[in-house]
């Protein structure tokens, strides 16, 4: 297709390895970055839930029972 000579296989394999390594590395970094962002968002959401005051219906906890 490309009309390469007998060394065409070497050229194509070197090019394919370059693309695969750089593409694979970029995808690996992207998945790590997304994972970290998700973890931070999850931690923030958990923190907000923990900080919220809880509602109670128990009379003793509401200070109605001496």
């Amino acid at each position: 297709m490309l009309g390469l000579d007998q060394n065409g296989g070497y050229v194509l394999s070197a090019f394919a390895i370059t693309v695969l390594v750089l593409g694979g590395y970029a995808l690996y970094l992207r998945s790590r970055l997304l994972g970290l962002r998700r973890r931070i968002q999850h931690t923030d959401a958990m923190q907000m839930t923990a900080d919220q005051p809880t509602m109670t219906t128990s009379p003793s906890e509401r200070g109605l029972v001496p």
Binding site: L2, L4, D5, Q6, N7, G8, Y10, V11, S13, A14, F15, I17, T18, V19, V21, L22, Y25, A26, L29, R30, R32, L33, L36, R37, I40
Partner: protein, 212 residues
């Protein structure tokens, strides 16, 4: 947003440079189509040098200021530099087999590049195994000392005239290549530099978020 723009630009530029190296560049009179490997082997090696220059600068800045931002940049550039050096060694070996008849030779250029690869692998290992503040300082020192090997790699084929070809472009090139070769090489160099910038930005973001 800027990271995404750099990422998309680098992908487009890499596609343009691939078109140039396969469809616009002519095969070499002596090496035939194997010479096309040079269009990505040389830019990859240059970007590896750039990555280690950034490690050098970030290491100096970190030792002077102790600002963790420099440390994050140094680590990110070191890791990406090791990836690019690995690719330079692999693509060089694939070029060497049809041209030299061997995958590897203990030629000064190849040997000093392998030493460079080991130095920055050690840089990353120091980061991984030493305690954070001390590890960052040790790694910064290694990042500065290790950079001494970069000019040695570049000048090795000039100092010791051996198997590896002389520089094909730049001030030390003995004869300047044709304009079309220079253009394809330059587009490829810009494309791989953009890919480096994208990878370093993403890696730095990971480093910054890991410390939160």
């Amino acid at each position: 947003m800027a990271t995404r723009i750099i990422g998309i630009s680098s992908a487009l530029l890499l596609a343009v440079s691939a078109y140039g190296m396969f469809f616009l560049a002519r095969p070499d009179r002596v090496q035939g189509d194997a010479a096309r490997i040079v269009y990505f082997h040389v830019p990859i090696a240059w970007v590896a040098f750039l990555a280690f220059f950034v490690v050098f600068c970030a290491s100096v800045a970190y030792l002077r200021t102790s600002n963790p931002r420099w440390d994050h940049l140094g680590r990110a550039s070191g890791e990406v530099g090791v990836v690019f050096t690995s690719l330079a060694l692999i693509t060089g070996a694939i070029w060497g087999y049809p041209i030299w008849g061997t995958w590897w030779s203990w030629d000064p250029k190849l040997t000093t590049t392998l030493i460079l690869w080991f130095l920055y692998l050690a840089y990353l290992m120091v980061r991984s195994y030493a305690e954070p503040p001390r590890g960052a300082r040790y790694a910064a020192i290694l990042g500065i000392v290790g950079f001494v090997d970069v000019p040695i790699v570049y000048l090795s084929s000039y100092w010791w005239r051996t198997l590896h070809p002389q520089p094909v472009i730049g001030p030390l090139a003995e004869q300047q290549p044709s304009t079309s070769i220079i253009w394809v090489l330059l587009v490829s160099l810009v494309a791989f530099t953009a890919a480096y910038a994208f990878l370093v930005r993403v890696r730095s973001d990971i480093e910054r978020l890991s410390t939160i």
